[in-house]
């Protein structure tokens, strides 16, 4: 077993160990802080191991796989389980463990007010999540990836529903679960088709065009669900009912990126289908633009960020659809840092002002300079301001999309870039500048170092990570070298313009929203997509279910009940044979004996 | 046919002898009891009352043969006949000397024990058919007692069988003639086994101190309450013969049978048998009757475990002792 893969294995098993201990020892879990420490230790170990694996890989530049056959039957194994360390999984592993570590440390402060029992439970879920995500990331084939995929789905469910006494949270958890589960059917079908066609769950199989299209479309369905792409994005805003650090970790940086990661992972498959990539390109750009529009009008800071996440994931998907695997992956990496940063900063703000509404904030930059600075750095990175992480990756995406499908996606993404800058500017100006909206905002204070430390770390990374694009590309065997082009200038210009517009609109205190924004707001309020699903559910699914229920009750059950009645009737007749008197039974036995003996003799 | 003739002639001889011995035995017992109780016993009929038994028999045979109205006539008649036949039948396999034996069966031991066990049937038939509650109670007690004491009896009999390695009575005697009497060596399973056999035999033949089926102070005369005349004679005789045959079997099994110095074998055998017979009377006129539950407790809690222990010891002896049975 080579060093890199053993490090990766440690990265998987360290949080697993923590989760196992916390599951097996409820007494320890209910202690709260020790459980949290154990969980963070696990994450720290995982992060260290991931870093070691990455450096090892950077040294050798050789992908490594360690695996064991699984589900053996008749000398064949269905698939392998193990770890694979290559240019995709190693950086992803580092990103995941690092963000998880930051979020967990942040949570120490953020979740401080919870009861000790809930505190321990929270961290136990976190450890389980990290384990699941790592399983997904390092998997050497798509079957293990599927297992990790479902595991993170479960932990997502658990963490969204963390405040399970709150009806909205429980509802959101169920919604997220069902929507992603619907999408996961695609993954299952895709895997089955892949296995049928190629006999394995590897992502390097060569498939016929039709099969490749089917398989990748099915996989993409799962991506749409997990990465909250239009039209299955509806669960992500609701998922904001979970604790804010959870949103930062699962629903911004890591889990939702798993969909993108899947496409990156299975790039050889996706490369075989032009159709799927076109679908991805369209879906990605539509999602990016659509979600950005919705983000314009949200008043809940977390929902702004949630739609922003949708939008950025749309960017990544569009990049992948355009054929730029590295573009998508790079944006995934940078986005993970600055979006986690944004969410944690938002969490810090929310913790201070006890509200999610940006209208109830204001002037926070002065009272919480570190948080405000971190949020602004994140917002600038997201807006694609030159020099920050988002700029490089977004530029790469735009470059990839340019010219595809009549340039419509490119235009959409450019518009998105503008809108992104605008809505982030809106949030920044409304929440962090101007006058405090109320007493909470006026007396907001910075929190302890457990919350400030991760912000500083992530802010730093949001600034610098863009410059490592070349190394990242080199690790994955891609060619990338940044050069400032006209497209980049256009994008950053649009971003700056968006910020400027936001300043013009919101910079000097709250003001009546422009007419166009009000229109978008009205459209958003109509919840068209959700209502479409509700219609589909109530009118189609429920009616069909009612019809099926009728058939089940009166036809299927009727048959069964009839069987029962007939049996009963026969039984009450047959019961008369059972006199309960031994001589009668003996008589029957003897009849049988005589009959058998006679049969034998006659034979 | 020769064997058959041999068996028949010796059988007749043995039966006659037994019956004579019974008659003499009754006289002897009465004299013996009289002496024990500081009285004379029979003196009037014949010299020293020797013909008293004959007179008694004649008297009994002349008595009216009464069958109670509600009795089960068939069984009532069958019972004494069966009792007499069984006790005499047991005598058929007992070797009185190396030649004086009616049927030298290879499973003589089992024959004796089995017929002894069958006596129960006769006891029961008598008690039940009499339609008399004393008789029935006596029969019930008799059955419980016989079935229970059958166990230590068989166990004690197994000791010589194991040591000699044969179930033939004459074979056992022959082994003792060649080696030693079982009552003397190996003394630990041998002598206690003799005691056990003696006690179990007393119980099986309903003799004092185990005469609970009769128990004249409680049950009038037990199973024989309703019997008179010839049937009573048969019962009486059967009981005597049973005791006599039991004594003979004990001699054969434990005391070397016809083995003895100087005198002919038959004399030794008769002497040993009569000695044991006298011992039975000695006990009868010395001891009191046991209570029914005490009797059972003695059997199951004392004698049966003892018997098992003796059988185990005998087995160990047969396995490990030098010069054991072939």
């Amino acid at each position: 077993m080579s060093p890199a893969s053993s490090f990766a294995l440690v990265a998987v098993l360290a949080p697993a160990l923590a989760a196992l201990v916390l599951a097996a020892l409820p007494a320890l879990r209910r202690q709260g802080t020790p459980a949290a420490m154990l969980c963070i230790a696990g994450s720290l170990g995982a992060f260290g191991a991931a870093l070691a694996a990455l450096s090892r890989l950077a040294h050798t530049h050789t992908p490594e796989t360690w695996s064991r056959p699984w589900l053996q039957a008749a000398g064949l194994s269905l698939a392998d389980v193990g770890v694979r360390v290559d240019g995709t999984s190693a950086p992803m592993l580092v990103v995941v463990t690092l963000v998880a570590l930051c979020v967990q440390v942040f949570s120490l402060g953020y979740m401080h007010g919870e009861s000790r029992e809930a505190f321990g439970r929270y961290f136990a879920y976190h450890a389980l999540f990290l384990f699941s995500m790592n399983v997904l990331v390092v998997s050497p084939n798509l079957l293990q990836l599927f297992a990790g995929w479902e595991l993170v789905g479960v932990t997502s469910y658990l963490l969204i529903g963390f405040y399970y006494r709150k009806p909205e949270a429980a509802h959101a958890a169920v919604k997220a679960f069902w929507v992603t589960r619907f999408a996961d059917m695609g993954l299952l079908f895709g895997l089955l088709a892949l296995f049928t066609a190629s006999g394995s769950f590897g992502w390097e199989a060569q498939l016929s065009p039709a099969v490749a299209t089917f398989v990748t479309l099915m996989l993409f369905l799962a991506v749409v669900g997990k990465s909250a792409q239009f039209p299955l994005h509806i669960w992500l805003p609701n998922a904001m009912e979970g604790p804010t650090p959870v949103s930062a970790l699962l629903h911004a940086a890591t889990m939702v990126a798993a969909g993108v990661f899947l496409v990156v992972r299975a790039a050889p498959l996706f490369a075989q289908s032009e159709t799927t990539r076109a679908v991805m390109l369209v879906t990605g750009s539509v999602t990016a633009l659509f979600a950005a529009c919705l983000a314009l009008v949200q008043t809940d800071i977390k929902k702004v960020l949630a739609y922003s996440t949708c939008s950025q994931l749309g960017y990544m998907v569009a990049a992948l659809g355009a054929g730029s695997v590295f573009g998508g992956f790079f944006h995934l990496t940078t986005h993970a840092f600055f979006k986690a940063l944004l969410f944690l900063a938002a969490g810090s703000v929310i913790h201070a002002v006890h509200s999610n509404e940006i209208g109830k904030m204001g002037g926070l930059a002065r009272r919480m300079p570190l948080t405000g600075g971190a949020f602004i750095i994140g917002a600038l990175a997201l807006a694609g301001v030159p020099g920050l992480a988002g700029f490089f990756s977004k530029d790469l995406v735009l470059e990839a999309v340019e010219g595809k499908l009549g340039s419509l996606p490119w235009i959409a993404l450019l518009a998105t870039a503008f809108l992104t800058a605008f809505y982030m500017g809106r949030v920044v100006f409304v929440a962090f500048f101007g006058a405090p909206a109320n007493d909470h905002a006026a007396h907001a204070k910075e929190h302890g170092w457990s919350m400030r430390g991760p912000l500083v770390l992530l802010a730093t990374l949001s600034v610098v990570v863009g410059y490592f694009g070349g190394d990242l590309a080199h690790l994955g065997g891609h060619a990338y070298h940044f050069h400032f082009t006209g497209g980049a200038a256009l994008a950053s210009g649009l971003g700056l313009a968006g910020i400027g517009l936001a300043y013009a609109v919101y910079g000097r205190g709250p003001r009546e929203a422009p007419a166009i924004i009000a229109t978008v707001d009205r459209i958003a309020q109509s919840r068209a997509v959700n209502r479409f699903y509700e219609f589909g559910f109530r009118r189609v699914t429920l009616v069909a279910a009612d019809a099926l229920a009728w058939i089940d009750r009166y036809v299927v059950d009727g048959l069964i009940n009839m069987t029962g009645y007939v049996t009963l009737a026969l039984g009450s007749r047959a019961r008369k044979i059972q006199t309960g008197e031994a001589p009668d039974y003996v008589l029957a036995v003897m009849l049988g004996v005589v009959a058998m003996a006679a049969w034998v003799v006659v034979q | 046919m020769n064997a058959l003739a041999h068996g028949a002639s010796y059988g007749a001889l043995i039966i006659l002898t037994l019956l004579t011995t019974v008659a003499m035995g009754v006289w002897f017992e009465r004299k013996f009891a009289g002496r024990m109780q500081s009285r004379l016993g029979p003196t009037m009929v014949g010299p020293v009352g020797l013909l008293q038994s004959v007179a008694d028999v004649v008297k009994l045979l002349n008595k009216e043969d009464i069958i109670p109205r509600d009795a089960d006539r068939g069984l009532f008649t069958l019972a004494p006949v069966l009792a007499a036949l069984l006790s005499l039948g047991a005598a058929a396999v007992v070797p009185f000397s190396s030649t004086v034996v009616a049927a030298d069966l290879d499973i003589g031991v089992i024959w004796v024990v089995a017929l002894g066990g069958l006596t129960v049937i006769a006891t029961f038939a008598a008690g039940w058919s009499s339609n008399n509650k004393f008789a029935l109670l006596g029969a019930m007690r008799g059955i419980a007692q016989s079935v229970s004491y059958g166990v230590p009896l068989v166990l004690s009999v197994l000791v010589p069988v194991i040591l000699a390695g044969t179930m033939s009575l004459s074979g056992i005697v022959a082994w003792q003639t060649r080696h030693h009497w079982f009552a003397l060596w190996p003394v630990i399973p041998g002598l206690p086994a003799l005691g056990l056999f003696f006690l179990a035999m007393l119980a099986e033949s309903n003799r004092i101190p185990f005469d609970i089926p009769e128990a004249e102070s409680e049950l009038v005369a037990g199973v024989t309450t309703e019997y008179t005349g010839a049937k009573f004679v048969l019962f009486y005789m059967a009981e005597y013969v049973h005791t006599l045959v039991g004594s003979a079997v004990a001699s054969v099994l434990f005391l070397g049978g016809w083995d003895g110095p100087i005198a002919p074998g038959l004399h030794w055998m008769v002497a040993k048998t009569l000695a044991l017979f006298v011992a039975v009377y000695w006990v009868r006129w010395s001891l009191l009757r046991y209570r029914s539950d005490q009797l059972m407790a003695l059997c199951w809690r004392r004698l049966t475990p003892l018997g098992v222990g003796l059988v185990l010891l005998a087995s160990a002896w047969a396995l490990f002792a030098p010069g054991g049975p072939a």
Binding site: T579, G580, E581, A582, P583, V586, L587, M590 | -
Partner: protein, 99 residues
């Protein structure tokens, strides 16, 4: 004396036992019939043992004998129980299982 004779005798005894088993209602009488059947089976064992010149048949008969004794012991215990429960020992009285 032939094997056929012994077997026919056994068959007759067995059939009589069957007849008794089917007609008798008294628990003890049922036991009597069962014993008759078991005895018939034993007779077959012994006859075949002689026929084949193999002592195994007799061994089987001994086993069967012991089994029968055990059966009678338990059976009579049940009869006594039946008597305590019903004051009678007719087997058709013991039909509580019918309900």
């Amino acid at each position: 004396m032939t094997l056929a004779g012994c077997l026919t005798l056994a068959a007759a005894l067995f059939s009589l036992g069957v007849y008794g088993l089917l007609t008798r209602r008294q628990a003890v009488a049922v036991l009597v019939s069962v014993e008759l059947m078991a005895n018939a089976a034993n007779l077959c064992f012994v006859a075949f043992s002689r026929f084949r010149g193999d002592v195994t048949g007799q061994a089987l008969a001994v086993f069967a004998l012991a089994l029968t004794v055990a059966e009678v012991a338990v059976g009579l215990a049940l009869v006594i129980l039946l008597y305590r429960a019903h004051g009678d020992t007719r087997v058709d009285l013991a039909s509580e299982m019918k309900q």
